[in-house]
Each structure stands twice: as structure tokens, then as C-alpha cells.
Subunit: 230 residues, 2 copies
DNA sequence: CGGCATCCGGGAAGATACTG
DNA sequence: CAGTATCTTCCCGGATGCCG
């Protein structure tokens, strides 16, 4: 009881490998556990603190989040960094390998959205909906567009720069935006994916639209979910 | 004990949802459990029987395989079909949604191969290596090619039709092949991804090469693993 | 043999409470 | 705020046995 306190159990995340050279099997080793990919999703737009991650993942326990972060660090998907004083807080940041998982996350999302069981009206995190824009953009409809749009979801702000079929998204206020949406990710999703009229949402105060209203109407029409399969 | 025999426990695969509209979360609901995606991989080239699936997934227990197949059926990823008599065996076949997961599997494989932890020299299933050809083909090097190649791994045979940057793969003997490899998936991988000289493998009897030897040399050079990240 | 049910041991997930 | 400790519950994986 009083001995061996220092040598905490040396168990790595898992040692039950699939023992399979297939890349898919390796991927399941890396991100196949519950919550894993959703954590990576939350880190996709830059470093985050423990509490911020937890807030974006409703239902996860601190317990599991700690384990996953440890596992990711061990497998080279993220690094923990300590910000310099005075803000000496610890943040978690993806490595290049971690950021490279964006294509995986997008493909998974595009695929799952084809399932009849998928319900786009559930709540979702700010990072989720911003990432969905990069996934679901219809390149045809966005042709020739070059604008900066701001988003505010409570404390979190994003800046999206649409340039043709490419959307560059960064965290933080968009000072140079010609249009800004303020609300919850859910109401924005209702407008973009649920076909809810912008005016109604704005009237009800669920979604505040500042700036170019015509652009807002065009923006929400830029995205479309894939057709259901089966 | 004697009552209620028919009403088996109504528990679906899981009811602990992420409660997240993000497509990635939905995808994790569908294929986020252990072994799930590897089972889909094994089904990628057509219907399979229970025992065939088990053989391609070293380490899986019949128990878990049954559970996954039930779950997949409930979520519309596969269907169980009974072949007409006299071969009244049951087979599992992907639905369109299931087949659509190929892009997901390929992206996951491509991503995980960039991890320094990935070891391409582990054993792998016939379906794995055939799928890896579709993932890792270098379109440049395959330009202008139009050939049919056969593969035999024990009982399993495949026919691959390379046409430009596209590889169409079907199960079964390739009667019209101009080249055929016979061996284990592992030795073929050693030649294609491990850089092992074809001649040495052929001499040792690990990989039998019949037909156009020059094409064989070109074939194994068509594929390349992505560079490691981090 | 193929497929499914049942039981069991170990371990991971989830909730809660606690600590620096 | 950022985790850790603990406890309960559930899932994974192996073994066995039943039935076509």
C-alpha cells in the first residue's frame, strides 16, 4: 500500500493490436476508440484547453478525455504545450499527423450523412459546423465568391474566408467581415441544412445577422447534404 | 424459463449516442466500434460467409462478429441474404451505403500509413492488399496501362483490371490475365511496399509469377506509401 | 460446419466526488 | 480550472453448448 507509489501502472492506452498491416487497421488503433475522432475534430482549428475540449464534447467525462489525450500524445497525434507566462495554461495542439486527419474526418462525415439515421437537427459544437462548411460546400454555387464572414457562438468566434471552392477558417473575431452570424451552431445549421428561412430565425432572435443580408441568403444556400443512400 | 422464449432481449447495439449532429459523430455510431470497419473492408469485394469473414479477421471472436453483423444490419450497412438452393448458405452483403464506405476506408488507410508507428510488414488479409492497390496507386506511373492481372492467395482469387488510374477488382479467377501472382498477401506486400526484389521472392518460392515478367516488375513499382508525417 | 445463445473474467466507459 | 480517484456499469473477448 505504501510502497511503489511512484511507479503507477505502466499500461499504455492499449496493447491489443489488430496485428494487421492494413492501414485501416492502423487507423483504428490510432483513433478507433470512443470519442477519439471527435476530440481531433475539436482541435482542428488550433490549440485548445482541457475545459474547452470538454465543452465541445457533450457527454464526455473528464476521465476519458484525459485518457484519450494521453494516448494521442503517445501516438504522435497531438502535443501538449504550456503557453508562456503570464498565461501559463496548458493547451493541446495537433501535430502535422493530427491535422492531416481532416480529410478522414470530412470523408467520414460525408459518408455518414448519407445514412437515413443521420439527424442534422441535433445539437452540435461550433467546431463541428465550421468543419461541415468545409465538407459540404457546393463548389459550383460558390464559384467566383471572395468574401469574409464572421461567426459568433457564445464566446467562440470564427473567421471564414470563402475564395472560390476553398474556405479558410480560423478562430477569432473577423474584423474585416462583411457579414456576421451570431447564435448557436444549431440555429445556424437549421438555416443552412434545415432549410429554415433566415428571416424567421432573425425575427425570433435565434440568429442575429449583421451586414450584407443578401450575402447571408446566398451563403446558406451554398451547402447541401448528400442524398440518402439505401 | 418456458415463457417468453420468442421475445429475445430488445437491446439494440447501443443506445448511448453522442447526441451530436456532426457527421463524424454519426459515423462513429455506425462504424466506431472495435472491428467494425475491418468487417466492412472484408465485404468490400462482394458477399461473404460468416467463416470467410472470420478467416480474414485474425483475432476476432465469433461472438463479436455476430454482434457487429447484427448491428450493421440494423443500421442499414449490410443485408443478410440466403443463397437459393442447393447452396442454401447465408451470406452477408453490403448495401449501397456500405459500399460507399470505400472512400472512408481508403482515406483512413492513407492517413494511418503516414504514422511512424505503421508497419507495412505485418500480415494482412487478401481483401486488405487488394484494397490497398486501389488506395496507393500512383496515377502518373500507371498512365496508359490497360492490363488484366490475376491473384491467388490460397483459396481466394482476384481479378484486377488496370485501366489508367483506375483499378477495377473483382473476386474470382482471372481467365484473361496476362500475369498472375500466387502466394500470400504478405509476400506480395513485401514486393510492392517493402521493395523486396521479385526475383528473390520467386526463387524462394514465396511468390509465384506466371506470365509477363516485365509487367510484373512494372506492376510492383506502381504503388507507393505516403511519406511519414511528424 | 455455420450461426447464435449463454456465462464469465477483465477492462474500458460513465458519473461523481475530490484535490492542487 | 485542470485534472485525479473511485465506484458502478457495460462492453469486449474467450469458452462452451445448442441446433440447423
Amino acid at each position: 500500500m505504501q510502497l511503489q507509489k511512484g511507479t503507477k501502472s505502466p499500461k499504455l492506452p492499449r496493447e491489443r493490436w489488430y496485428d494487421d498491416a492494413c492501414g485501416t487497421a492502423m487507423a483504428m488503433e490510432l483513433v478507433g476508440e470512443r470519442w477519439s475522432l471527435l476530440i481531433v475534430r475539436e482541435l482542428m482549428f488550433g490549440p485548445r484547453r482541457f475545459g474547452e475540449l470538454k465543452a465541445g464534447l457533450p457527454g464526455i467525462s473528464a476521465n476519458v478525455l484525459t485518457q484519450r489525450l494521453e494516448g494521442f500524445e503517445a501516438s504522435g497525434i497531438l502535443m501538449r504545450r504550456k503557453l508562456p507566462p503570464p498565461a501559463s495554461v496548458q493547451v493541446y495542439e495537433l501535430t502535422p499527423l493530427g491535422y492531416a486527419a481532416e480529410t478522414v474526418i470530412k470523408e467520414l462525415g460525408r459518408w455518414a450523412a448519407q445514412s437515413p439515421l443521420h439527424d442534422p437537427m441535433l445539437p452540435l459544437s461550433p467546431a463541428s459546423i465550421m468543419l461541415s462548411f468545409r465538407t459540404m460546400l457546393d463548389a459550383e454555387r460558390a464559384r467566383g465568391l471572395d468574401v469574409v464572414i464572421g461567426f459568433r457562438f457564445g464566446e467562440e468566434a470564427f473567421r471564414a474566408h470563402l475564395a472560390g471552392s476553398d474556405i479558410r477558417i480560423t478562430r477569432g473575431e473577423a474584423e474585416d467581415a462583411v457579414l456576421r452570424f451570431t447564435g448557436t451552431p444549431r440555429t445556424l445549421a437549421a438555416a443552412v441544412y434545415g432549410g429554415q428561412p433566415l428571416d424567421a430565425l432573425h425575427e425570433a432572435g435565434d440568429l442575429v445577422i449583421e451586414g450584407d443580408r443578401a450575402l447571408a441568403a446566398r451563403f446558406v444556400a451554398l451547402f447541401s447534404l448528400p442524398a440518402k443512400l439505401l
